[in-house]
Symmetry: C2
């Protein structure tokens, strides 16, 4: 009885923190979505203070958008999905934050993406954007694969494709590797005529800079360039293996999320591709479901 | 007449700047080597002020070692070999330095390594340490290959081997790639039992941290691990191609320098390996030859 009443009177905020932006959605169990807000980068691995700031900016904008007062932040039950909080030390550090919410429930961005994609139900997700990783949640048990970061992991992601393209072009321009149409494309992109001109501009660049080159690889592969084809097929093969690994755990659904999920789909193993279904809700709604589920679990323990 | 006299009265200092240390040698045309000094990192691409500081520390220690007075720095004709000064902007920035030397002659670390290896004569060098690259100097014409930096170039180097090892191990531990003996080795090295434990410790690490793992790859290859063998052979194949590219330009000699040159030698194409000769002098002596040659050229222009 108590649990039901609490749930119906609640205001929720779902927050999805990412490397480039932070999205917040305010939701009422009675009225549905009330408003949304967009803040800056919120990856605690790349800046802890910045993350808290982006969370607060997106929260304030969502409150405003919802027509709520600034003080009503204290009424919000917050669900947060953030990268890196699978690390206990980072999880604890964020939970020690003197946050303004009524309650705060924290989990990984993968977890909230998965809950969102399957509208609170069990399932699996593959994320392929700047990075790549897989996550599966079945009957309370979760597992994740990949997501080991640039340049040592994240095969099939945009940053990985961009890096493989730069590597192949540098070999080609030094005449120490096979020719590729990507060389002319990247020389033009970097407005240079030497391998060193490309190398210097990319030296020390973050994964997002490499990810910007992924579209060239996809275009060149479509046009039949052998090297670009090899890169795209190697990436897609990894994503297919990752999908089969997730499907072994019998999730009811599998979704792909992120900027490369659509262009990669045609290169996947057809047996895998036909099992991929569209995500039902975005990660910030997943964060709201996570807050709801956490509160329900609390109430159950109280009864 | 004038040129000869100047040359015989000169004191020289040869400076070899590197990513981890800076070596200086003071040399007199009459008495030979007078003293040496060792300073900290001197790669201007990774810290300009730090580089100048390391140059001055190694110079002062060399002066002390030579039994010279601090003020005698003004009598030194300096030859400097530094990474990155093939970039005109960086070359100019260092040449604008208000240096204490009598004269200063600047070139790349590759150039001075090559001049040193062949005692001032024409030749080619391959450097395989933390990074990898090739350089050839024949009749005043030079060319360089590779050296495009971590993680996009420097195939066959220590950092490249370490990165390939980490990639293979993360795939193995996720059960998304073949088994390798390197997995047990790296789990032990990083004192963890998960892929994420390795990924987190290596995230954002510089190339030198990856290079520390190269010895594991070489050991595992010797012990017959298929993945380690593939890494070492791929690296050695690139170095062999690089050597053939340099040999096409008919250098009188070819030398290999750097921590991986010895362990890699047994994996090289035998046709290449038999043409590799030991370097005659270290890069800091190459920097001294460079200063001498530059002064001789000045004198010739003055006559």
């Amino acid at each position: 009885m108590m649990a039901k009443q609490v749930e119906h009177d609640q205001l929720y905020i779902g927050i999805d923190g990412g490397g480039t932006k932070c999205r917040a959605t305010i939701y009422s169990a009675i009225h549905g979505v009330l408003g949304t807000g967009l803040g800056g980068p919120a990856n605690p691995l790349h800046g802890f203070e910045r993350t808290l700031e982006s969370i607060m900016v997106s929260t304030q904008l969502a409150l405003q958008d919802a027509g709520l007062r600034v003080e009503q932040v204290h009424e919000l039950n917050a669900g947060l999905g953030l990268a890196g909080v699978n690390l206990p030390s980072l999880y604890d550090k964020i939970m020690r934050w003197d946050h303004p919410f009524k309650q705060m429930f924290l989990t990984t961005d993968l977890h909230t993406a998965c809950i969102g994609a399957h509208e609170g139900e069990d399932g699996a997700v593959i994320i392929t954007g700047t990075g790549s990783c897989g996550f599966v949640l079945v009957e309370g048990k979760s597992a994740n694969y990949g997501g080991h970061g640039f340049a040592q992991g994240d095969i099939g992601s945009g940053s990985w494709m961009g890096l493989e393209a730069v590597k192949a072009v540098l070999l080609d321009l030094d005449e120490l590797g096979p020719n590729t149409a990507l060389s002319a494309v990247l020389l033009k992109h970097f407005n240079t005529n030497t391998a060193m001109g490309i190398a210097e501009q990319m030296a020390g660049q973050p994964s997002s800079s490499y990810a910007k080159l992924a579209r060239y690889v996809l275009d060149a592969a479509k046009a039949g360039d052998v090297i670009a084809l090899e890169i795209v097929k190697t990436g897609a093969d990894y994503i297919s293996r990752l999908a089969r690994k997730l499907l072994q755990q019998n999730p009811p659904r599998l979704s792909m999320i992120g900027g490369l999920s659509e262009p990669l789909s045609e290169w996947l193993d057809p047996q895998v591709a036909k099992q991929v279904e569209l995500p039902k809700q975005p990660p910030e709604m997943g964060a709201i479901y996570f807050a709801m589920q956490s509160i329900r679990r609390q109430s159950e323990h109280l009864v």
